[in-house]
């Protein structure tokens, strides 16, 4: 019984990947004529997508950093009041 199930279990591991593959294949259009196929178009597409993602991450990080700096600035202002630290006179 166990020996019959093992191959099935092995195959089910690949189902999500297989479905992802089918989904992505369905996005692809007709194949161009090989003689006129551009060997760099797919990679260019991937590069544009990657550049977009990296650019978005950069902007998110910039906003986050600005927010963090402002918060740190507020905390600093509370810790070091305006006018600087003065020695209290007795």
């Amino acid at each position: 019984m166990q020996s019959n199930c093992a191959p099935l279990m092995l195959k089910t591991r690949y189902i999500p990947s297989f479905m992802l593959g089918l989904l992505l294949l369905s996005l692809a259009g007709e194949q161009p004529l090989k003689a006129y196929a551009d060997p760099g178009s797919g990679a260019m597409f991937v590069q544009i997508a990657l550049a977009g993602i990296i650019g978005c991450l950069f902007r998110v990080r910039s906003v986050f950093n600005r927010f963090r700096r402002r918060k740190q600035g507020q905390e600093t202002a509370e810790f070091f009041p305006k006018g600087g630290l003065t020695r209290s006179s007795k």
């Binding site: 690949y14 990947s17 297989f18 992802l20 593959g21 992505l24 294949l25 996005l27 692809a28 259009g29 007709e30 194949q31 161009p32 196929a37 551009d38 060997p39 760099g40 178009s41 797919g42 990679a43 260019m44 597409f45 991937v46 590069q47 544009i48 990657l50 550049a51 990296i54 650019g55 950069f58 902007r59």
Partner: protein
């Protein structure tokens, strides 16, 4: 002084200039706009840094009195330091291809903050000086638009560095199989077809082969695919830096996959046909020749893991070491790089040497055209019986070709048909080789060479000969 220049026809693709050789010197004629750019680049910090490190070919403007007239009058001339022996990706093990890729990425990345970029990224921009890669195509550098977040050479880098490595790991083969058939590396669609489903759906196969294949048709349908894209300069620089880091990570991962040892790569480790004493005798004979004759340039045919190449390199020789076993050559390159030995290891089958390829069969000259009369010592240790039996090349032919390669000495090991390794190759066809006696071998040598010395290896059927080419 006017010198006759011969065009190196592999350099015609770039409209910005072309390469000439004049005797032993290498010149590049550059059209005016490209020359201005080249001068700016050579004065830039990354160019100075890479030239000082020997990673960018040394370039200078020659004395005008030496300049010749056989190029368009308005062109400018620069001279490059000569790389002694040109080699091509069809002769590189994957370790050398990866090293050329790392150098390309280093240059692209370090040029970025100084406003430069590489307009192409192909292994043909790189040659090897010993085991060290040197970037030679200086016209590949152009000014970068600070707002452009894309690298125009990205797809070419993937095709010519990453996908060949990926395909090699999926199905290891000789580099010649790929590069003699394809100038432009492996297209994503070809790589995709050669990968198993599991490799197609995991990185790096997913990003390098599968996504580009799946999206190729969709991308081609978009007329705007190659339109310039502008973004904030800070974002553009960050994007490119991140992309280079990603490419470097993928290149590192693909070039450090676990290597399977090949039949020949363990040859010296597992040898059973020499006793320790016999091997020591062979080594001392070679060492004595090296120390007495001090060869300047040596060709080691059938170098295997390069034990004798290393001996010669340590003695001051500049060595080209060839073997048909990709894994053995890869191991030799790693050792030569680590120990900084002047050894250029190449995957070349001496019985089927790299042919001339490319446009008019002249873009990459054949191995023999590059090697002919290029060495003052040629080493052929324990290889002649393979050529005689496995490749069925007659002894006279082998010696005649050796005489074309060396300008002076040939150190050759004769293995008699009674030797156990010879008998393994013969597989019962003993009658075909019954005439191969020591006297027959010496008579054949005497046609092109003078026998300087000979030393039988004790308790074996092998003899070492040092021959001098007859003038």
């Amino acid at each position: 002084m006017s010198t006759a220049l011969a065009p190196l026809e592999r350099s015609f693709r770039d409209p910005g200039g072309f390469v000439f050789s004049s005797g032993a010197r290498i010149f590049r004629a550059v059209e005016p706009a490209a020359f201005e750019l080249l001068q700016d680049f050579l004065a830039s910090p990354p160019a100075r840094e890479f030239t000082a490190a020997g990673q960018l070919v040394t370039t200078f403007v020659p004395d005008s009195s030496e300049v010749v007239s056989e190029f368009p009058a308005n062109y400018h001339l620069v001279e490059h330091q000569r790389i002694e022996f040109s080699s091509f990706p069809a002769e590189w093990p994957i370790e050398m291809l990866a090293a050329a890729g790392f150098l390309t990425l280093d240059l692209a990345e370090k040029s970025l903050p100084h406003g430069w970029r590489l307009k192409d990224a192909t292994p043909y921009n790189v040659l090897f000086r010993g085991p060290a890669p040197v970037f030679v195509d200086l016209l590949s550098f152009e000014r970068r638009d600070a707002q452009d977040s894309l690298w125009p050479a990205y797809a070419q880098f993937v095709r010519t560095f990453l996908l060949p490595l990926l395909v090699h790991h999926a199905s290891p083969s000789s580099p010649a199989l790929l590069w003699l058939a394809h100038r432009d590396g492996v297209h994503p669609e070809e790589a995709y077809r050669s990968l198993s489903w599991s490799r197609r759906l995991t990185t790096p196969g997913l990003t390098l082969a599968s996504f580009p294949t799946w999206f190729a048709a969709r991308a081609e349908a978009q007329a705007s695919l190659y339109r310039p894209r502008s973004t904030d300069p800070e974002v553009a620089a960050f994007t490119l830096r991140t992309m280079f880091r990603g490419l470097r990570r993928q290149l590192g991962r693909l070039s450090s996959y676990p290597r399977k040892s090949s039949h020949w790569s363990n040859y010296l480790d597992t040898q059973t046909h020499y006793s320790a004493e016999q091997f020591a005798a062979k080594e001392s004979f070679v060492a004595a020749v090296l120390s007495e004759f001090h060869p300047r340039r040596m060709l080691d045919i059938g170098a295997n893991t390069g034990h004798f190449s290393e001996l010669a390199a340590r003695g001051g020789a500049s060595v080209v070491a060839i073997d048909s076993d990709t894994a053995a050559v890869g191991r030799l390159w790693l050792r030569a790089s680590e120990k900084k030995l002047d050894i250029l290891p190449l995957v070349v089958d001496f019985c089927r040497p790299t042919p001339a390829v490319g446009w008019r069969n002249r873009e990459s000259p054949s191995f023999l055209d590059r090697a002919r009369s290029g060495f003052d010592l040629v080493l052929m240790l324990a290889v002649v019986h393979h050529m005689l039996v496995s490749e069925r090349v007659p002894l006279d032919e082998i010696l005649a070709l050796a005489a074309e390669l060396t300008t002076d000495l040939l150190l050759i090991e004769f293995v008699e048909p009674g030797d156990p390794m010879f008998r393994r190759l013969v597989r019962g066809r003993d009658a075909l080789y019954a005439h191969l006696t020591a006297s027959y071998f010496e008579a054949a040598c005497a046609r092109s060479f003078q026998i300087l010395r000979k030393q039988p290896i004790a308790q074996s059927r092998r003899t070492l000969y040092l021959l001098r080419r007859k003038s």
